[in-house]
Symmetry: C2
Subunit: 188 residues, 2 copies
DNA sequence: GTCTATATTGCGATAGAC
DNA sequence: GTCTATCGCAATATAGAC
């Protein structure tokens, strides 16, 4: 792996663990096994390197989510698959956690990949809910966009509950609760 | 307001805006209008001051939530009141945001008030769901603990969606979606 | 109790040798 | 391209005057 690659990968790990304000160039360099010069040769500085790392993490997460949401099964089953896919719950969401970072939120550039990724997933789920309605799996009274926001929020908030408690139990409970509310009508 | 009070209040504001790793003693002192000596006279250091601030914020949030959850109305109405109470959505949750802070999570002492507050609210909502079931307002197939986790997660995750988008719209959509799923059965 | 002065360490970036 | 050396400044804390 090239030095630039190792810098990006180290930054991704640290952004996930400690966020942007909690991640120092020094820590990145130590993890990547590189010196100061390498970083400033390949990147303009910390924000530039972080942007590359955030973009990659966001793209990866979007791909992972869409693989499940576009996979096999009924709309309900695909939403269920999205909600229950394996996650390292206590680590939190590498994209969502960035929204709690003041410097990410203050920067139009750093926030953009976060916004776009979450938005894309939300839209994909909204569309699935509408498909489910056409098939009679979900009631016609539901608003696809609103349900999609609830689904994504339950995941993102599940991480908060789990990390607060130091246990993934609450994440699983939140997902289970939502699935029980979403469960297809017997007529479905 | 005493110097110690001003230090705690300034710390609360900064923890909300920037988290623990993003908040420096210098910034606290500037906001409080105090010198280095005052802080180290009243508190053992940054962690000690942060603990006082977190405890107060957690206690306040718990009281605010319980005031609504123990207020008037049916179980559904009280959960609705909790979900729709006025919030400064783009600022995020002053308690929940701390779960994304590596140093808060690493410290048993700093995490405890966060854990206890979220847990208390969750338990109160779980109990409300069970009351609603006894009154036939919610279906007997629901699990109170799971629904409570979904409710709290929707709020916490709603902040994530809103901050990602730079607009409170998604928070409101998530809440609306959840309320539509929770809506009392017509028979209720 | 509060202040200023100071110590030590690390941050984020630059310079320039190799 | 990568390294070490260095810069200017802030983080966290201590010392000691007032």
């Amino acid at each position: 792996m090239s030095t630039a690659e190792r810098l990006i990968e180290s930054t991704r790990e640290l952004l996930w663990e400690r966020g942007y304000v909690g991640t120092s160039p020094k820590a990145i360099l130590e993890r990547a096994g590189a010196g100061q010069g390498s970083m400033y040769h390949h990147f303009k500085g910390k924000p530039d390197l972080a942007l590359a790392a955030i973009r990659r993490t966001a793209d990866e997460m979007r791909a992972t989510a869409e693989r499940v949401l576009d996979g096999p099964g009924t709309p309900y089953e695909r939403i269920e698959a999205y909600l229950t896919r394996e996650r390292d719950v206590l680590r939190g969401c590498p994209v969502g956690r960035l929204t709690m970072d003041p410097e990410v939120i203050a920067s139009q550039e750093l926030r953009a990949p976060v916004d776009e990724t979450i938005d894309r997933i939300r839209e994909r789920i909204a569309h699935l809910v509408e498909e489910g309605q056409e098939q009679g799996q979900f009631g016609p009274e539901l608003d696809g966009e609103a349900i999609a926001a609830t689904v994504v929020a339950t995941v993102q908030g599940g991480y908060v509950l789990a990390r607060a408690a130091g246990s993934p139990t609450a994440f699983d409970a939140g997902v289970r609760g939502l699935l029980s509310l979403l469960a297809p009508r017997p007529a479905g």
